[in-house]
Symmetry: D2
Subunit: 160 residues, 4 copies
């Protein structure tokens, strides 16, 4: 496994462009964040998520670069969705007692501006907290303050 | 850059678990897919997307593993959203004449079952094709045939 | 009550235009449909709903006229939503055993063309039937066959 | 037309229950609101909408009664959708210059509590105002202050 990994990296280094190697570096650093427990999942690590959390909101910021772009060289809408969903789900889980978890049942996103610039900041807030579900809203902003996306979601409360 | 990459990998190899190294291998292979032009973006490569496309539908299949899991050890809903959005957007772009592109304006996803098993298959179909927008539906299935998610989205037609 | 109703009608007759009286006639006929049990609720009656229902779909057709228009003289999007939601909910309730009911938890509608012409036909189909929820899709068509709207919704199964 | 209307009313009066006549009265009063220009459309009149509007929000309140109930004797979700959509669309139209209008392109509603009590209050606010679209959010509340629904919608700006 280890030698295969080294060999795999060498092949990329030989054949990849500068941009490819930067993407590679970004991703390996992402896995390292998971190894170092800076992030709790590979995806959170891969996206270099920084979280702030309190009883009313969850805010996640990620750096932007070509590793998470779509064909039009802006942030892939699925990545914005991933960060919004993570912020919303993290907030729901934070508010639940031990032994309970929240899973996304429905997610709705309006995209309002291209995701460009240095970073993306996503902020989730509670719209409704019931006994079986949460409804949570989320907003995503670029470095220049422009709103990139607006989301709402239904989260089911489950026993773990 | 190259030596830093090698050093970064060595640190991961030293400190990472077997699962960490597998995730790492999966991701470096993903970048390699972009380098080899098997996929057109890093995200498509990272998720090891395999696409089938015709005038009526676009189907994308990805392998599942812990690298794309959420905290509950099932596929992160944002990853399902990413593959669905990619399938829907790829279909819209395929149907447009040269010089035009389609961007996601609104995305709506109902999650219907946990994303487990070997792979995820997403299929997009046209609901409505207008002069300014597409409405496209998408469905995601697990290896055992169970429907994992159902999506619909509005795509804006833009001049590139 | 009865004399007040008669007086109310006379005031409308004196002051209303031909269009006003047609709207009035349409609405009183709607209440009559409820009285005669042709429809089970006032709203169903008011909209003159005609339903067809089997194990796989529910289809509801309504006549169109200025009584249900918005400011732009096309069918109010809320009316289209009402008919779609009714078709979807009727189908869900039809598939449930005695003692159980389905309530709308989330409704998502894409409007694809102006609602004009003689009538609106809405058709609901099951996307997913689980133990706690249904996901149901719906489509609305005009007399000329053009698709007016595309909907999906989550319905919760409750004990009545 | 006039005599037919009178005859139609008499038939309802003879055969209808007290609840039927109350629904009838509510609806004829609704048409009267349109005749008297208290409301600008039959639907607004029928629902007895009262609007408050400024540059930041539009609030619409309607009285609740069995005339707008569903089979479960709570407000029909389509009626809530209609009032929310009207509040959102009214706000968008208010903010546009002469000669332009806003039409609903996508509407998404989360239902969070049964619509019971004396009245329903819907409030719309701007999420995003662009050159081609608005994204607007809406919330619906019962008399006891409980949130009944949470909505978001995309509105297209058109030349009238």
């Amino acid at each position: 496994m280890k030698d295969e990994l080294r060999q795999l990296l060498e092949t990329c280094i030989e054949t990849g462009s500068k941009e490819d190697l930067e993407a590679l570096s970004f991703m390996i650093e992402g896995v390292q964040r998971k190894i170092n427990r800076k992030n709790s999942t590979y995806i959170d690590g891969l996206l270099h998520m920084e979280k702030k959390l309190d009883n009313h909101s969850c805010e996640i910021t990620i750096p932007l670069n070509s590793a998470i772009h779509n064909n039009l060289n802006i942030v892939h809408g699925g990545i914005t969705a991933t960060v919004l969903d993570t912020a919303m789900g993290t907030l729901a889980n934070y508010l639940l007692p031990e032994g309970y978890g929240a899973v996304t049942n429905q997610l709705n996103i309006h995209y309002t501006a291209p995701g460009i610039g240095d970073q993306l900041r996503c902020r989730a807030e509670i719209v409704h907290q019931g006994t079986k579900t949460f409804v949570i809203s989320g907003e995503a902003y670029r470095s220049d303050g422009k709103k990139v996306a607006y989301a709402s979601g239904t989260f089911f409360i489950i026993k773990k």
